[in-house]
């Protein structure tokens, strides 16, 4: 970007997978990076911080449960207190608790919706007023291909990701008048910890549906996120960019 001072970028779920790749991508422009994670141990976030430090950027990690409104509010108050603004918010934190709907517990439903969908609301809610004041800002929400096409075993996850799409569009409409763009990126089958747990049979089933014939890499998703936050995408808002190897068109 043309700004002389580095952008302040907040990424949820930034310690690994797609969120980590997004952090590394923003590090290339020497942005200030704050990421949230909710890992049981700090090894992934420490590793991410180490790489970011190696790239010469100011970065910090916070352990936050994005589903808790108050905690998120406090987290952002701290960020605004320290950095005075947030230029980019990437709502990436997400979990899966897969099982067929018939067997899905209320807890599994609630946990996934609370983090994947309410978490996006909570974080967005915390940044919109300051962004409105700045008359600028970029928000990118990570959805999923299954939010469009559904997927057996992912009633909770697919519903949460479809919700993210609608939330993205509504937020985009509400904030467009203030120079803030809000877009979504819907990854397909990406090589992360989330998909590593799938059986070979399920993986082969996915691969058979992908015209490009391979899994996506986190960096390929991060590139789309980064582009949406660049000047090149200044006239794009309320859109969902599909990064899925052609799995859904």
């Amino acid at each position: 970007m043309e700004n002389s001072s580095p952008r302040v970028v907040v990424i949820t779920g930034g310690s690994k997978g797609i969120g980590r790749a997004v952090a590394y991508r923003f590090a290339e422009e020497k942005a200030k990076i704050v990421f949230a994670h909710y890992d049981a141990d700090d090894s992934d976030s420490q590793e991410t911080l180490k790489v970011l430090a190696g790239m010469g950027v100011e970065a910090e990690a916070h352990k936050i449960d994005v589903s808790l409104f108050q905690d998120v509010d406090l987290f952002f108050r701290e960020i605004f207190g320290k950095f005075e603004r947030v230029d980019v918010l990437v709502n990436n934190a997400g979990i899966t608790k897969d099982t067929l709907l018939m067997r899905m517990s209320e807890e599994d439903w609630d946990a996934v919706l609370d983090i994947n969908l309410k978490g996006v609301f909570n974080c967005t809610r915390a940044v919109v007023r300051p962004m409105i004041k700045e008359r600028a800002g970029r928000i990118v929400n990570i959805s999923s291909v299954v939010g469009q096409i559904g997927n057996p075993g992912q009633a909770n996850y697919s519903a949460s990701k479809a919700g993210v799409i609608a939330l993205t569009k509504t937020t985009a409409k509400e904030l467009a008048g203030r120079g803030i763009t809000v877009n979504g990126v819907a990854p397909g089958f990406v090589d992360t910890e989330m998909t590593a747990v799938l059986s070979d049979k399920v993986k082969d089933g996915f691969l058979a549906q992908i015209p490009l014939g391979r899994m996506g890499m986190p960096e390929e998703v991060a590139e789309a996120v980064y582009w949406l936050c660049s000047d090149a995408a200044s006239y794009i808002t309320g859109q969902i960019i599909h990064v899925n190897g052609g799995m859904y068109m």
């Binding site: 007023r129 509400e174 904030l175 008048g177």
Partner: protein
Amino acid sequence: MSDVEGKIKKIICEQLDVPEEDVVPEASFVDDLGADSLDQVELIMAMEEEFDVSIPDEDAENIGTVQDAIDYVKKAVA
């Protein structure tokens, strides 16, 4: 000018970026001061913060002019 009045006018000038002389009691936020729906919400939230009051949506809908805002806040903090 009472304290409440002065503070409210200051909030309006800042939020809507309008000159002080335009912020007359009968001025309508939307028709005279150019506020859109987001501006109106921002104004209400700024007043809530300044005066430590809670303005429910159904009340906020009835605050259309500068005088409406002054009257509402004066009543709420009384």
